[in-house]
């Protein structure tokens, strides 16, 4: 526990010095507020840059608050998710490659503490960003479109956070397994492209961790979804398994550190 506290502080300081705790939340806040504002001004934007023919009229749909939150989720799932997992995919192996890890590995540390210090910091960052991002999105949606049920909103954010924990855990697991370039490639294939595949042919299955983000937004509109709890449970179980694999590979690959 003592080792964990020291390593956790070290990770936290490193993330702070590389400004991650500044720009990651700012990115999510930006993604969160861009959709409500863009949809609100869509008519003006089309008039200004759309180059529409004279007398052309379009009727824009009346957005419900849940639609705007869905759009914001889409932003988080593309740009936000890519940035977050790319950062996570470099956390363990970058230290091994530039030799910093040597200073840590020569001491009798527990690899579980090492792994969890990184896991805790990246997830602190991720959850903070997601909460601020959804908070900003909800704030603007409430001003411009209307409110949603507060409890459902909290539930939605919480279950989206579970999905984000799953995503960063996968990225960290690859980070413990491979070198930086390879781990980033695998992470991008499994997560953002997984989300893409999910949106293309996802209707063929009902329970998969990649569905959790969709289901969490659907909480706002649909009253009952029999698959939601199963998906949530499956995601949590997968996260735990990937954490264990991650710790295993952190220990196994400790010898691959560059001297």
């Amino acid at each position: 526990m003592r080792t964990f506290a020291v390593l956790f502080q070290k990770e936290l300081r490193e993330s702070w010095r590389s400004f991650k705790f500044l720009w990651m939340p700012l990115l999510f806040i930006f993604l969160g507020i861009s959709d409500p504002i863009m949809n609100y001004y869509m008519e003006d934007i089309l008039n200004a840059v759309g180059n529409l023919p004279e007398g052309f009229t379009i009727t824009l749909p009346d957005y419900a608050p849940a639609d705007i939150l869905l759009a914001s989720t889409g932003q988080f799932q593309s740009i936000g998710l890519i940035v977050l997992v790319v950062i996570a995919a470099g956390m363990i192996n970058r230290e091994r490659q530039n030799g910093t890890a040597l200073f840590i590995y020569v001491r009798p540390i527990s690899f579980a503490a090492l792994y969890f210090s990184k896991w805790a910091v990246i997830n602190l960052l991720a959850v903070l960003s997601v909460i601020l991002g959804y908070g900003a999105s909800m704030y603007y949606t409430a001003i411009l479109y209307g409110t949603v049920e507060p409890l459902l909103f909290i539930q939605m954010v919480a279950s989206y956070c579970v999905w984000i924990l799953f995503a960063t855990t996968i990225a960290l697991m690859f980070s413990a397994m491979f070198k930086t370039a390879l781990s980033i490639t695998f992470t991008v294939i499994v997560l953002p492209i997984g989300v893409l595949v999910q949106s293309l042919i996802g209707q063929f299955w009902n329970v998969s961790p990649w569905k959790l983000a969709d289901y969490s937004v659907q909480l706002l509109t649909q009253s009952e979804n029999e698959y939601y709890l199963k998906t949530l449970l499956l995601t949590i179980i997968c996260t735990v398994i990937f954490i264990l694999i991650g710790i295993l590979f952190t220990r196994k690959n400790a010898s691959s550190v560059k001297v």
């Binding site: 590389s18 400004f19 991650k20 500044l22 720009w23 700012l26 990115l27 806040i29 930006f30 507020i33 861009s34 504002i37 609100y40 001004y41 003006d44 008039n47 200004a48 940035v83 790319v86 950062i87 970058r94 530039n98 900003a136 603007y140 001003i143 411009l144």
Partner: protein, 62 residues
Amino acid sequence: MMDINWALVAPLLVIQVVLLIVALVDLIRIESTNGPKWVWALVIIFFNILGPIVYFIFGRKS
């Protein structure tokens, strides 16, 4: 023709300016970057929001 409610758009501008300034200050103070510094300066200044973030992810040598 377009009357923009500036109170609504201001946060976007604030985020952009904060990221721009932090990235530029860091670029000036850092010893070396991945690739030439002046390219990163252009990227940070001319790409809204994403420029500074791309710099923070790929530009800084750890």
